[in-house]
Symmetry: C2
Subunit: 374 residues, 2 copies
């Protein structure tokens, strides 16, 4: 019954599988766009991918982006966004929008928040006002935002958390997931559950069973890339992804480097998001097919060549490393956009190439790692 009603807002079709890995390609259809998976979702926390416009996103071929419900709840407010006609209309973007609940951001507010089984009480980082966040209130918030895909409120322990702390978070996350399912009202919003379990394989297994037993439209791997070691990330993703239902999209939250994307795809993940390409861009760290570079480095002053000779983005087709360095050292605002366009293009192009390889059943993890300079 739940399953039927939640199938409506979103359709996911598996189109092919790699014969040598867990990698798969599919088609995700929401009310706003058709998305080929595996897909990387640029992060646009406040209904804006920093430095870009919706036209830039369309030029980049980004059919889905991520917004943050917690941040938007505080500014401009979810009711306001509803009045504006929803997130897409507000930001003039014609793709799909997945909203993270922002639970992760709230739990990061050390000293400003109190977590109980009921939910989270916290103080706004903007004006110090008190707010109650419950699984139910976050359903309301994300429905007001008009999200195509919404995430349940979960409790995400830090990467170094002990087994018993992780177990308590799992129990709470499961209880909250059920309350979230009962609170849903808006037929156009799809909901994803989140699997916790830290770095413990048996706990991941246990929690995948609990969450995947609930009628969600998709399933996410949470609690990854929150401070644990790189080898633990890789091990847990490879272990957990195949535990999620074949016929639903699998989303690895907050991950990661280009190499993480390749490994995640090989493990059978369909969706990714991370601030890395956009945040690194603003700090002058740019991805190329010969490895990551820091544009501040003095020797780029003499390089009258594109950032990445193999790249077809506007930045690489138009400007030299020397000019980009000049913009960066002078803190010219133009730099942030040009760098963001490049890094996102690098990520989105990598995903396109992996989809192509899976479609041809030639996907090879090691070849892709070498292709991106690893």
């Amino acid at each position: 019954m739940h399953n039927e009603s939640t199938s409506a807002p979103m359709n996911f079709e598996l189109l092919g599988r790699s014969s040598s890995t867990e990698a798969r390609i599919g088609k995700l259809t929401t009310a706003h766009s058709v998305i080929e998976t595996p897909v990387f979702m640029p992060v646009g926390t406040l209904a804006c991918v920093k430095s870009l416009t919706s036209r830039d996103l369309e030029d980049l071929g980004a059919k889905i982006i991520l917004n943050n419900a917690y941040h938007l709840m505080l500014r401009p407010g979810a009711e306001e966004v509803k009045r504006y006609g929803g997130l897409q209309k507000f930001m003039a973007y014609n793709g799909s929008i997945l909203t993270d609940s922002g639970g992760f951001q709230v739990f990061s507010l050390e000293g400003l928040r109190k977590v109980t089984d009921e939910g989270v009480k916290f103080q706004s980082h903007i004006d110090g006002t008190y707010h109650d966040l419950t699984p139910e209130s976050l359903v309301q918030v994300q429905e007001n935002l008009g999200s195509d895909i919404a995430m349940v409120l979960d409790e995400c322990p830090s990467g170094g958390a002990e087994r018993d702390v992780v177990q308590k978070s799992m129990a709470r996350t499961t209880a909250w997931a059920k309350r979230c399912i009962d609170a849903r009202n808006r037929p156009e919003t799809a909901w994803f559950g989140i699997v916790q379990g830290g770095i413990f394989e048996d706990l991941r297994h246990e929690h995948a069973q609990a969450i995947c037993g609930l009628p969600f439209d998709g399933y996410a791997i949470g609690g990854v890339s929150v401070g644990e070691k790189p080898e633990d990330i890789e091990r847990i993703v490879r272990h957990t992804a195949p535990l999620l239902p074949q016929e639903r999209p699998r989303y690895l939250m907050g991950v990661g480097t280009p190499a993480d994307l390749v490994r995640g795809v090989a493990a059978g993940v369909d969706m990714f998001d991370c601030v890395m390409p956009t945040r690194n861009a603003r700090n002058g760290q740019l991805f190329t097919h010969t490895g990551k570079i820091n544009i501040k480095n003095a020797h780029f002053r003499d390089q009258e060549v594109p950032l990445d000779a193999a790249c077809t983005c506007y930045t690489c087709q138009t400007f030299t490393r020397a000019y980009l360095r000049h913009l960066f050292v002078n803190r010219e605002l133009t730099f942030y956009r040009l760098a963001t366009i490049h890094n996102l293009h690098f990520y989105l192009e990598l995903m396109r190439e992996m989809r192509q390889a899976i479609a041809e059943d030639s996907f090879n993890e090691k070849e892709f790692l070498s292709h991106i300079g690893e």
Copy 2:
């Protein structure tokens, strides 16, 4: 002899005159573009109009922009720009570039500079190193930059300067102008002389005679908008513009508000530059046909309408006041570009409308002031 050699880099053709005012339209041709005058030149101090790319400038129809020789001399260095193939190639811009000498910026370095008849000795605001600026060295700098139009080094007293101070500046500026003419080497760079004289009409007359007797490709009104009263600006521009040769372009440096542009055009000025549209944009001050607004104002939160209903720029065609305010209060980088696009479009569109009116001989100063919300 000088006159012939300096005519080559630039051609100016007067195409029409207003019968009721001094307003005129013309066509300015440089090695890089054909520019309809009167024209407003966006300011791109460091080979970049802040927050925009060269593609944005082309979309806005900006056929000529201003760069600053003094700033570029310090970073990345004029020799470097020469090695990069000149400013246009460096910033991937296919329009014309006028370089201000930056004398005004150097004279603003209170305590860090020493002016003599020979030139200016100053300390870099970036790293404290000492530099000598002479009329000759600034010719070399601007020729290295590959400027289409270069400005002589002048001495610009503040708006409140006494008569005798202004007279000393005039004498020095004339002497420097002659040295600049003798130092020229690059046939592709046109040179403009600068008329000083403060707020004293007889001194303006005297200095216009001195400077316009020298074989420059165009003539600028300097020392305006440097701290004097608005009514003095208007009076001096109306007095000085007609003193400059009819057959050469007349450039009013560093001015101004939209109303200043209308008054300047009516006085017979052909070229303008000012940081106002771009700097104000970044501070949230936006020009509209019903007056200037500050987007931070809380009531814009409820305004789901374009910034300026009469505007055809990308920003107004795509986003609401509510969204722009949201971006501004959250310091989203995207805001700066959207606001800059709008304000520059407002300025450039106003110039297009004035050119059209002059062409039809229907140019009316008061009507244009009312049109821009004055």
